[in-house]
């Protein structure tokens, strides 16, 4: 996004621009839609939620005296008869990154007012998200089958099961909410609500393709969180 044009306001680049924007009247984030600014602040708050989860996990895992299970064994899948460590997790990561990429393209095509392309890409993102949730459900059922519960864990420290189900569950909830909204937005895009500036169901604001970017921010954030969960929970 290059700077928007605002009557009577000259943009300065870099830190000078930061000082000027902050000190100006009306808006601090020049040209940023209300909804987009809100989503950013919400994501900041959500970052703190996930950080608290991961910090708790670190504290819990670090201070237990019982051995933590070896994640690359616990999360391995058998291909034929050879166990492949973290196979499912790797596939899930790739699926989520793929859906993040399609979302980024959807935002691009949205701004170019390419309704068809945008709609199909959002739909592809939604299907990617759904696949991710499905695979997570498979992973959960596999672990539950092996006897891991939130309150017990046959492979070692109890907290393993607790933190696993809580953190992936909370992340999965985010993904599921995202998928629901992706389907709604795909519908709205195909219907042309953003071209017609039709008002949303609960809002007084006119429809606009910026809403796709707002949803995109949320979706990329979900992907971002998974990057951290992948590193800290599965690779540690």
């Amino acid at each position: 996004m290059s700077d928007p044009k605002i009557e009577g306001y000259e943009f300065k680049p870099g830190f000078k621009g930061m000082a000027q924007d902050t000190g100006s009247d009306q808006t601090m984030f020049k040209g940023v839609h209300w909804g987009k600014a809100m989503m950013w602040i919400f994501l900041l708050s959500d970052t703190f939620i996930f950080s608290c989860f991961l910090i708790s996990y670190m504290k819990g895992r670090g201070s237990t005296l019982i051995d933590w299970p070896n994640t690359s064994e616990v999360f391995s899948l058998h291909v034929g008869s050879t166990p492949v460590p973290l196979l499912l997790i790797a596939i899930m990561t790739f699926v989520l990154i793929t859906s993040s990429g399609t979302m980024a393209l959807a935002v691009k095509y949205g701004y170019e007012k390419n309704r068809k392309m945008c709609g199909w890409l959002i739909l592809a993102t939604a299907i990617g998200g759904l696949t991710f949730v499905g695979m997570q459900a498979f992973e959960w059922s596999k672990l539950i089958h092996e006897g891991v519960r939130p309150w017990e864990n046959p492979f070692g420290a109890k907290q393993f099961g607790s933190f696993f189900f809580m953190i992936t569950g909370f992340h999965g909830t985010h993904v599921s909410i995202g998928v629901i909204f992706l389907f709604i937005y795909a519908y709205k895009t195909f219907k042309g609500h953003y071209d017609e500036e039709k008002r949303g169901w609960f809002t007084t604001m006119k429809g606009d393709y910026v809403e796709i970017e707002i949803l995109g921010l949320y979706w990329h954030f979900v992907d971002l969180v998974w990057v951290f969960i992948f590193a800290f929970f599965y690779l540690w």
């Binding site: 009557e7 009247d25 600014a37 959500d46 109890k158 607790s162 809580m166």
Partner: protein, 615 residues
């Protein structure tokens, strides 16, 4: 739904006319000095309710939502007050409180603390004053997401409902203390360890969810929906205080949410996040390997910013009240702003000073004592600036000013005892005594409450169009102020002689003899102060019927909320045209000016001969 939106093209045409008038068009009389950049953002579309339900109950007008928040928070606050009466009855006159068991006492302590901190003060300052004042003070038509704002209030409503429901479930509300420390909070033997704590956690999670919706509204309104000419450094300090407190809340409540969720899982599913191996009556419980101190860290990572969530709006509001009623610009406005922001930032780095005796890593004491004492610097700056604002001011000693003065005194008192408690070595003997009770009630109970009272007397003419009665107000103030001092000042002494907090009774301890009389005295004072609040309620009801009409801008204030075309302001706040701001809100007693105040919307050309501050 679309037919319910009024066509605002008329408004838009109006505002674009004023824009072009800056260049010499329109009326053709606007001098260059008065030119303000045109509006960046088109007019906001508002949803206008038509029925009683959409106008007053599920209302999307921030002002109505503010009043709703105010009333509901006050209602829960009164419940908290009654609980404190019951506690004081037990402590002062145990023989009269025969109906109370130790379990009851702990439940009342817990609910009193939680209600007062979260459901009363936080909701009142941010939900009540925030909703009412932010759009008016920054010059917007409403909050930026009115629907979300409405959901925020009803979420709070449900949270209060769930909280109060815990009084009626088997086992009663939780009695774990407002800090809800595990493992005892969810172990049998603590009152309300089953349903009580569960409902408490659910209620908190609902509150956080609702508050997040409201908080996003406050922040984006302040950042992205100010009127023309309103820069951040021209905002009243009230808005700065609420703004910074909201940022703190958005970043601190997540820790409470996570802690509450994990404790709920420990309680319901039997996970062991916070539960170590526990031996109970010779029997090893299912739990094992968890970390109780983790909850304390999570709780206080929320809990300390929470103190400032309550304090910062109070700081902001009192600055405005003092400035208006001393007819003098606020001393060191920029310093005040940076102090608010600095206190807010630092508040995330001090949380474990609540945990000096918890058995955490010993070197934390050094870190947290240092950061805690650093916070004293911006806080002291603020106190000096309030006093210097009063210095040689044209003070109107009305009820509002009395509350402000009361605030300064109580706040300084509570702040100084904070220096004792911030130092590890001094804190260790004083921990968990009545000294702590005295400290935090002074600094974040009574002091913000004084500001709330002052703010009620100050803004009531705006909300209702009538003045509250001064004589009744003075009775209310003196009874509350002197009474509150009689309650909390002796508590410092109780703390020094070692009376522990959260004790149901003192049993046969050596300090009983010296503490009994004092406890009775404190209790009597507490009953009187509580009853004195009825004066305010009476005053409000009486004023609504026969109060003196206030008219426009009754205090001769400068800030935008007093400059609306109609009093009380209507939905949309500004009628046809949004105001245009030319200065900060503190131009009082400017040399050379005709009147002793210059409103924010007065254009520079009208006051060319005066020595106004450049803002």
């Amino acid at each position: 739904m679309s037919d319910e939106y009024e066509n605002k093209t008329g408004y838009q045409a109006q505002s674009s006319e004023t824009i072009s008038s800056g260049g010499g068009g329109g009326s053709g009389t606007v001098p260059d000095a008065d030119h303000v950049r045109p509006a960046e953002i088109p007019e906001q579309d508002l949803y206008h309710g038509h029925s009683f339900i959409t106008k007053w109950i599920f209302c999307q007008d921030a002002k109505v939502i503010g009043v709703q928040y105010f009333l509901l928070a006050t209602f829960t606050g009164i419940i908290g007050l009654i609980l404190s009466w019951l506690m004081r009855l037990q402590l002062g006159f145990p023989e009269a409180a025969g109906f109370m068991t130790a379990e009851h006492y702990y439940q009342f302590v817990t609910m009193h603390g939680m209600i007062m901190v979260v459901y009363f003060l936080t909701a009142l300052f941010l939900g009540g004053f925030g909703n009412y004042l932010i759009p008016l003070m920054v010059g917007s038509r409403d909050m930026v997401f009115p629907y979300l704002n409405m959901v925020s209030f009803w979420s709070f409503f449900v949270a209060v409902g769930v909280l109060l429901a815990s009084f009626f479930v088997p086992g009663g509300p939780t009695g774990a203390g407002w800090t809800l420390y595990p493992p005892q909070a969810i172990l049998e033997g603590t009152p309300g360890s089953g349903m009580g704590i569960l409902l408490m956690c659910i209620s908190l999670i609902l509150f956080v969810a609702g508050f997040t919706m409201g908080g996003l509204n406050y922040l984006i309104t302040i950042l992205q929906a100010r009127t023309r000419g309103m820069t951040l450094m021209r905002m009243p300090l009230t808005v700065w205080g609420i703004f910074t407190a909201t940022i703190l809340a958005m970043l601190a409540f997540p820790a409470l949410l996570v802690g509450g969720l994990m404790m709920t899982l420990d309680n319901v599913l039997g996970t062991s996040f916070f539960m170590p191996t526990i031996l109970k009556a010779g029997e090893v419980l299912e739990y094992g390997g968890g970390s109780p101190i983790l909850f304390q860290h999570l709780f206080w990572f929320f809990g300390h910013p929470e103190v400032y969530i309550v304090a910062l709006p109070a700081f902001g509001i009192v600055s405005d009240l003092i400035s208006v009623h001393a007819r003098k610009n606020i001393f060191g406005y920029r310093m005040m702003v940076w102090a608010i922001v600095g206190i807010g930032g630092l508040s995330f780095f001090v949380w474990a000073h609540h945990m000096y005796v918890s058995g955490m890593n010993p070197w934390f004491g050094f870190f947290f004592a240092t950061t805690t004492l650093i916070i004293a610097i911006p806080t002291a700056m603020k106190v000096y600036n309030w006093i210097l604002t009063l210095w040689r001011g044209n003070i109107r000693l009305n009820v509002v000013m009395l509350w402000c003065l009361g605030f300064i005194v109580t706040f300084v008192n509570g702040g100084i005892t904070g220096l004792f408690l911030g130092n590890v070595t001094v804190d260790v003997p004083l921990s968990d005594t009545y000294f702590v009770i005295a400290h935090f009630h002074m600094v974040m109970g009574i002091a913000p409450l004084m500001v709330i009272m002052g703010a009620v007397y100050h803004w009531f003419p705006l909300v209702a169009g009538r003045f509250l009665d001064e004589k009744l107000g003075k009775w209310h103030f003196w009874l509350t102020f002197l009474g509150a001092y009689s309650i909390y000042f002796p508590m410092h002494y109780l703390g020094f002689i070692g009376v522990p907090r959260r004790y149901f009774e003192m049993y046969d301890s050596p300090y009983v003899t010296s503490a009994v009389g004092m406890n009775e005295f404190i209790s009597v004072a507490a009953f009187i102060v509580g009853a004195a609040q009825l004066i305010l309620i009476y005053n409000i009801i009486r004023t609504l019927k026969i109060g003196k009409p206030a008219g426009h801008n009754p205090w001769q204030a400068n800030s935008l909320e007093w400059l609306t075309p109609s009093v009380p302001p209507e939905h949309g706040n500004w009628g046809e045209k949004l105001p245009v701001v030319h200065r900060w809100p503190y131009d009082f007693s400017v040399p050379g000016a005709k009147e002793d105040f210059i409103t924010q919307t007065t254009p520079p050309s009208e006051v060319a001969e005066t020595e106004v501050e450049k803002t």
